[in-house]
């Protein structure tokens, strides 16, 4: 059974690592659109896929995954925005869980935008 004692151990471990986390102003942000439109289009599995892929690669201190509201392009949901400090924000559209590992690998790790998944590719 999951116990609070276990949670205490997690607390102590997290404290030891805390400085490392706070000292990271270069952390990238993954923002998944999770308003009604995003959720209905399948944003939750996309968010979960980002969380899993980032954990698998041991990048949880370098990349945060969070939700955002509707930015007004409901027809392109699920929409994912990626912010890397010092770089222009990139908006990916109609994101499916299968596309996530490529976005993490190419964009977040190797800093090459996956152009074919961006809003620019779709509207051109």
């Amino acid at each position: 059974m999951k116990s609070l004692a276990e949670l205490k151990a997690i607390r102590d471990k997290a404290r030891a690592e805390l400085d490392l986390r706070k000292e990271n102003p270069n952390a990238a942000r993954v923002l998944v659109g999770m308003a009604t439109c995003g959720i209905a289009a399948g944003a939750r599995p996309v968010l979960n896929a980002f969380v899993e892929e980032i954990a698998k690669r041991g990048l949880t201190n370098d990349i945060t995954v969070t939700q955002t509201g509707c930015i007004g392009i409901c027809q392109y949901e699920p929409v994912v925005e990626i912010e890397i400090p010092g770089q222009e924000k990139v908006t990916y559209v109609k994101v499916a869980p299968e596309m996530v590992s490529k976005i993490v690998n190419d964009h977040l790790v190797n800093k090459n935008v996956v152009t074919e998944y961006t809003i620019g590719a779709l509207t051109n």
Binding site: L7, K13, R44, C70
Partner: protein
């Protein structure tokens, strides 16, 4: 929405935007009595009576990015299409409570789906807000109260990866103990 848990995620975000400090989500169900009831209660900014009438209207929203607001109407529809009922009570400055009651065996019943994932994402994305999640079935009930976790964590954030993993495992374990056999999650 394909799962009621997605409606919950959607409507709970209204509580987040209403600057709630505490959001209570409960899912009570009984096969014996053939119902499922979802309650989302917050201590956010609340609404006037007029605003409560407006949120039920799909063509009302406080947003400026688009002209429709479907969160509450879709939630309401999901309940009413099963012969159930839907209710919003709100008081300005006190909070809002939304209740959807379903007739479980109805042919138009939407499955609850992965409610644990919804709770985990809400905590992950809103580590400053407290959530109390209660689920009950004919076999028993459990509660996850982030205020209790916070007490143990003494300042370590709820969105710490290991903490979220603990939360997920806890929810899975507790859910299994109150759901008989096949329909997990």
């Amino acid at each position: 929405m394909r799962e009621l848990s997605l409606n919950v995620m959607d409507v709970a975000q209204n509580s987040v935007r209403a600057q709630a400090d505490l959001v209570r989500i409960s899912v009570e169900e009984s096969d014996r009595e053939d119902f499922l009831r979802i309650t989302i209660a917050d201590d956010g900014c609340g609404m006037t009576e007029e605003q409560v009438q407006q949120v039920i209207d799909p063509f009302f929203t406080t947003r400026t990015t688009r002209k429709v607001g479907l969160g509450v109407p879709l939630f309401k529809l999901s309940a009413e299409q099963t012969g159930g009922s839907f209710d919003i009570r709100s008081q300005k400055g006190v909070g809002t409570t939304t209740t959807a009651t379903y007739v479980k065996s109805h042919v138009d019943m939407t499955p609850l789906g992965d409610i644990n994932s919804t709770v985990e994402i809400l905590i992950r994305c809103n580590p400053g807000i407290d959530f109390v999640f209660t689920r009950s079935t004919d076999l028993g009930s459990f509660t996850l109260d982030t205020r209790e976790l916070r007490e143990v964590l003494e300042g370590v954030s709820l969105d710490t990866p290991d903490v979220l993993e603990w939360i997920r495992a806890y929810l899975t374990e507790q859910t299994q103990s109150i759901i008989g056999g096949a329909d997990i999650p």
